[in-house]
Symmetry: D3
Subunit: 341 residues, 6 copies
Amino acid sequence: MPLLKAAIIGGGNIADNNHIPALKQLADRVELVAVCGRDLGKARALADKHNIAHAFDNTGSLYDQCAPDLVVICTPNNLHHPQTMEALARNCHVFCEKPPATSAQQARDMANLAVQKGLTLAYNFQLRQTSECALLMRCRANGLLGDIYHIKAHFLRRRGIPGWGHFTNKAMQGGGALMDLGVHVLDLALFALGHPTPDQVLGNTYDLIGKAGGKGLMGDWNPNAFEVEDAAMAYLSFPNNVSIMLSASFALNTQTDKDRNLEIFGSKGGVKLFPFSLYTEVAGELADIQFPYLDETDIQLKNTIAFLDACEGKPSTVCTAEQGVILQEIVERIYHSAEKK
Amino acid sequence: MPLLKAAIIGGGNIADNNHIPALKQLADRVELVAVCGRDLGKARALADKHNIAHAFDNTGSLYDQCAPDLVVICTPNNLHHPQTMEALARNCHVFCEKPPATSAQQARDMANLAVQKGLTLAYNFQLRQTSECALLMRCRANGLLGDIYHIKAHFLRRRGIPGWGHFTNKAMQGGGALMDLGVHVLDLALFALGHPTPDQVLGNTYDLIGKAGGKGLMGDWNPNAFEVEDAAMAYLSFPNNVSIMLSASFALNTQTDKDRNLEIFGSKGGVKLFPFSLYTEVAGELADIQFPYLDETDIQLKNTIAFLDACEGKPSTVCTAEQGVILQEIVERIYHSAEKK
Amino acid sequence: MPLLKAAIIGGGNIADNNHIPALKQLADRVELVAVCGRDLGKARALADKHNIAHAFDNTGSLYDQCAPDLVVICTPNNLHHPQTMEALARNCHVFCEKPPATSAQQARDMANLAVQKGLTLAYNFQLRQTSECALLMRCRANGLLGDIYHIKAHFLRRRGIPGWGHFTNKAMQGGGALMDLGVHVLDLALFALGHPTPDQVLGNTYDLIGKAGGKGLMGDWNPNAFEVEDAAMAYLSFPNNVSIMLSASFALNTQTDKDRNLEIFGSKGGVKLFPFSLYTEVAGELADIQFPYLDETDIQLKNTIAFLDACEGKPSTVCTAEQGVILQEIVERIYHSAEKK
Amino acid sequence: MPLLKAAIIGGGNIADNNHIPALKQLADRVELVAVCGRDLGKARALADKHNIAHAFDNTGSLYDQCAPDLVVICTPNNLHHPQTMEALARNCHVFCEKPPATSAQQARDMANLAVQKGLTLAYNFQLRQTSECALLMRCRANGLLGDIYHIKAHFLRRRGIPGWGHFTNKAMQGGGALMDLGVHVLDLALFALGHPTPDQVLGNTYDLIGKAGGKGLMGDWNPNAFEVEDAAMAYLSFPNNVSIMLSASFALNTQTDKDRNLEIFGSKGGVKLFPFSLYTEVAGELADIQFPYLDETDIQLKNTIAFLDACEGKPSTVCTAEQGVILQEIVERIYHSAEKK
Amino acid sequence: MPLLKAAIIGGGNIADNNHIPALKQLADRVELVAVCGRDLGKARALADKHNIAHAFDNTGSLYDQCAPDLVVICTPNNLHHPQTMEALARNCHVFCEKPPATSAQQARDMANLAVQKGLTLAYNFQLRQTSECALLMRCRANGLLGDIYHIKAHFLRRRGIPGWGHFTNKAMQGGGALMDLGVHVLDLALFALGHPTPDQVLGNTYDLIGKAGGKGLMGDWNPNAFEVEDAAMAYLSFPNNVSIMLSASFALNTQTDKDRNLEIFGSKGGVKLFPFSLYTEVAGELADIQFPYLDETDIQLKNTIAFLDACEGKPSTVCTAEQGVILQEIVERIYHSAEKK
Amino acid sequence: MPLLKAAIIGGGNIADNNHIPALKQLADRVELVAVCGRDLGKARALADKHNIAHAFDNTGSLYDQCAPDLVVICTPNNLHHPQTMEALARNCHVFCEKPPATSAQQARDMANLAVQKGLTLAYNFQLRQTSECALLMRCRANGLLGDIYHIKAHFLRRRGIPGWGHFTNKAMQGGGALMDLGVHVLDLALFALGHPTPDQVLGNTYDLIGKAGGKGLMGDWNPNAFEVEDAAMAYLSFPNNVSIMLSASFALNTQTDKDRNLEIFGSKGGVKLFPFSLYTEVAGELADIQFPYLDETDIQLKNTIAFLDACEGKPSTVCTAEQGVILQEIVERIYHSAEKK
């Protein structure tokens, strides 16, 4: 099979540290031909660092000159929609960074176009590739959990408002802690449940610490330019009496920084995801099961493989365009609920 | 001041172990004159054990013969309403066990009659008297927490369906884990917030483990007679953008049995209640504050004193009739939300 | 069913603290009518303490006057054989303290006479009644262990040579650490394996610390009167390629006092008995399973019930006369192997 | 003194990571002139990596062209014997990897030829060079242990069947867990005892997990090509009433991976080797002695020095040819005992 | 030998809980005939509780009527001197509570009179009887410590100003933390050194917390009546280049309540007393020695025995009159040094 | 502003690892032009390693050829005085390693000349730049400690006599553990107190371990050439009733190696410096405050910046010439006190 030609759009940290190294390790399946960034000099430097042939400062030239089979989109959230639409129009598969977009309508448009073009659109929720998530799905498939009926999912930082990038800019990011952190654990929760759509969504968002300022553990932030939520709390109620409690924060007066976890409660067993613990009954006694030898894995590499598999029509655990729509709608409904407060 | 005459209605464990010992220690303020129970022999035996003069098997005789100034009601939940109404009608102050009643309307009737009669009606939520709760209120008053905007409250047992009493009987208890356990931490959360009324309530209740049966850690239970929820999850949204996540369970596939705690998040500081930890900033640095020498207190004794203080018109931290109405309404709204699932 | 009449032979600590309290709690099945000890005054005092009608200083009078249905033998090891033989001859079921006897031939004689008389003879290896042992047998029955092929069993004390009784007297005890401590864990190991007979037995016994003297943690002992082994090490090889490593000590320069445990290795899972841990695979991953809520049980009461069940022909986990023979033969073969060193 | 000329036979990991770096650090005593491997290209690459002049793919050319004074043999176990015999015939000192050989007769032949030729033959049991082993020997010499009478030695892996090399190939390795891992701790035990020869040897070997397959922690292995034991258990009884319990496993359902330790029990003190703890009496009280500042040492470097010292006739703690024979005979007797099961 | 007749002077807690129970256990050596207290009723009640024949409210009657051989003085510090002088004058041995007196001159007078009368005067520093102190003296005698040259001794409470008794009354107690707590560890330090007299004494005393008030962990205290030091720090320099750092506090902003310990530094070994740890070299390596099985002892009983031994002229580790003088002089020199600050 | 020209005097480890890297990072403020060492070859090599233009083996040439604005003096203690005097005479600011000098008179001379020349002389006590020290000063400034009245300062090594350099040479170093280690914590204590001068100083010094020899944890030392103290203990009493206990050791039979800490006791709060803990009252309860997110900082870089700031007349926390005099006088008074023992 000939190699797929790939290009990177957006030359920041996540391209440099995650996507490019993963693609380079998969040289038997994909050839990384170009990097496209806002600043041609920086794009060129990044391309040189990784021995990539071409660098561009506009996507038009990229498509015209390189005709890639797939693109990886690593730009700010507000660019996910226009760049994905363009890529699909140019007949490329798209591997887009999370979150899918800054509105549900955008995500829906993107998914529709992918279907129409018969192309793969997927989102890079790479926590799905952790050994813990894989084991969770295996336990669920083996019936060790029975019916899952409640999930507590949280991704909490105590003072982790990033001091770099655009994380506090509402227009570019579309939101704050929920949009950046909460979506990771929400995706895992939905994945464990099979991506149902909630009947009811209730939520609140906050910004008291972000706007007040103070000690930062991920660099200093400007409280006067803090436009997003520093914390979001939500409750999702699904058909068949399933529920999720979701908590996300950039800043919260809580014990640890950072605390990212899920608790999945089923009729036969419950799981705490990190580190993976299974609470159930064995031989008629209450039992706590630990798995001390789970592999540490390169989750980006695994997720990129999953994307390539999807492009080739193989079974894959990558987040699909449709799953992205479901998630983005929930995020929007949480913000909508919170706005009225 | 002459001693108040007191009587106990309901001669079970909670009378024997909590209320009677507390009242006996307060012999300078109150004289415990009678015990009233369903079974005269048992009531007599309990009275003898504690050197109480009278025993009855009906409240009518109790009121006629002893004319108490106050009664303590320790009967199953479904009797709280009729017995409180009777006691108020008989011009007695009432110290009623939690939960207030089995419906919000009952609690409202009880509160209205108490106002009308100019008598004190209070509920025995004794966790308010812990050193931790007192310190929380002191920290709040000192401004150490800033504005409280979110509370996570839970009271979770892994396999703690009581194997005695009527805890799984819907008619007598009015509910399960929420009615019996959840109300304790809900009361603390409301107390910390000043008893606001929520705008929105969303919840789910479950009974999969209770109905399936299995290993019990508080005796064995009969899964075929399990009529209540084994777990309840709820989200409360209040005016001024305040929210509560509430979780309660008799049975849940979770790590510990039992786990009862609150996390209170404010703009300046956050508190984990048990053991009491304060997360805030001190001298410009993130600080974790522990209080290793908090007193262990006899919380029943303190709550009985608080009730007596209330009867005498003194400032008191006992749960008032009106606070009981607010709590009972929330419980009812959670069940109502859950029913539709 | 009429109550069984029981008598105690041997009025020492184990009668006072273990057997008499257990029998008294089983007053619905057995009536404890007499105590027989060497010293009539002490026997009388023990009987009075526990409200037992009769006391004797010789077994002849006991049998003549009380005609018990069963006796419990709590005397030094060298008396187990003659007293059991007499009791069986007097048509009594016998519940004999461990070890069965001081030689294999004695144990065989006792078992033979029990069979001949159609009576129950059982030994008080009460560790079989721990929740851990019960769970082990349940795991084995459920196939969680696969085939058990190796067991490490040890009962080690660092300086636990008892300073009272006759524990260092060879003639009365028949041996030292192996006879007193090792038999407990050997019985559990044999129980887990279904009481096979070993093909090969190899062992060593030691007395260097016992004869040298030093600091004692269970009272002081007289090194000049130390006639037994302070440590015994042995290896048992059974048909079907099954093996046991057995270690027992009264005194050993090791870390803890006391360390009593078994590790049971099977093809599918392995168990460490105290606290009970199961090492196996779950969902394709190596898993450690803990059981944090195992009941603490009154193992003497349970073992006495097991003996009574055996007397009544019910299924029972008490150590049978035949199992006692197998164990005593192994002990003798270990001593035999060690003697030649 | 002129430098000794050295050559490496066998160009695998152990040459690359252990022996070559050690020899290079000893450039004041030895000149490493050649590497000999099965594949000339790989041998050449290894030589280049370490700046070694010559590379060969057959030992004949090596000896003819380089005439080394000593060789280090790092090939599979079944080649130890022929290559050592050849090297001795070529008048070279030999430093051979452990185990000495795949049969006792081979080890005896090798030792005999070394004596006959007046050359040094030694085996690379480098754990002897740990600070812990050195301290053990010092404690023994100082009389802190009294007479050593029992040793428990184990080297247990839970799922550590190597997924590389020839570790499961009976013909090349001569055995499994005992031959690869057990020999390390057996050598230490024998070293502590002064290398006595046992009177009696009893053992069992197992392969149930190795043949069943499953999760591997050191790569995946092929259960269908699993020809060796995954576990070996043995008991050794020596003159003067000394005994060893030996346990080794590639795969066992036990708690940790890996657990390698020795407990040495003497009349005055006992030692747990890793981390080194001494259990004894001090000033009339039971005392636990820890040594928190033991040096971490480069045990390969130290053992290579010990070998060079031996070549030069200096006192040395390296494993001698004769000690290798004693060890190999014990290994063979264990396998012989196990075969009959 | 006839029994010694003993009487107790001072009927408070220390008599009730410590001295009387100890004397009652020594009924084979001493007969406790009387209790003398300020309040006859309380003295009578205490005597009755312990089956003591006589009770008095003045010492004159006690001596006249009972003619004791020895008295135990348990009164406030300022009475130690007059009551000891009277007791010696009445030909009684005296066992006096610590500290000896409220001035060095008093202690000297008391010691002189004891010598003159040929009677035993001793002080109840019972920490000398701990297993730890005994082991320290044994280690010192065995040469395990070499020459002791520096001791750090401290007895620190964080907020342990007693809320009962006269502990903050300067006139009755003679001082605060140093007089009540510091003397205990000073006595141990001096005991370890053989009671030398210091060349130089430098110290400071403080009362800032005591006078400010605040949270108390041993009851509430009255800051306005706080007349003594809440903390004392001192340095003692002895002949032969030996030094002590001494710290004592009732109240100090430190981590724990309470922290009482000594570190004894010698040329060969150092000791931390509680729990006893010995830091030294063993077999040429730095070694930490723990003694996990030290006996817990009834230190009051042992010290009372030591006093009785001293009365009978036997060797004894009780604090002698002369040792009391040395200690009291040091205390006085510390206060003298501190006064000038 | 033009760059300051800097030169390094003394080309050892501290220049190579600390001062040169710090100065190189500050290339926007200072240009490092030369290294001067005893051995020209080594100086040249060091200069080359760090891309420094010039190397000298005498200071005269350095000053003549380079005319630096500032010098950093990293030579043995006995050269601090002559080299500082020369540098000031040559109109250079001086950043001198600790301790200031080997006598108080030297330090005074150096400070006087700096004043006279209007130049900055500062000492490199870089622990002042730890986050812990900065937080201490902030807590003090915020009033969280109230009045500081006692400090315990220690820097203890168990067997940390350096096996390299001149640390045991009295003439070159001026002293041992106090001069090398004690000064660090003494400087912090004085800094916390505002550099008062003590009224009274009492101290002892020891050398028993240093002169006896033994196991070394920082290399081996020669006990026969051990001329300094291995431990120093001292007590400082200041006006206004403030005191310091100071302990320093190269070698002491204590638990840990190394233990460097300060406890600062104030009327409102106490601080343990490493890790930083604050013991105080919060909301009327005793509270322990931890700061889990203190930054780790490059303390050398910060201290070099502080020195440059001082040179430019900005506020600075660097140790001033005058503070160096106060410290050196105290050190001298401790040695003086100890000498007389």
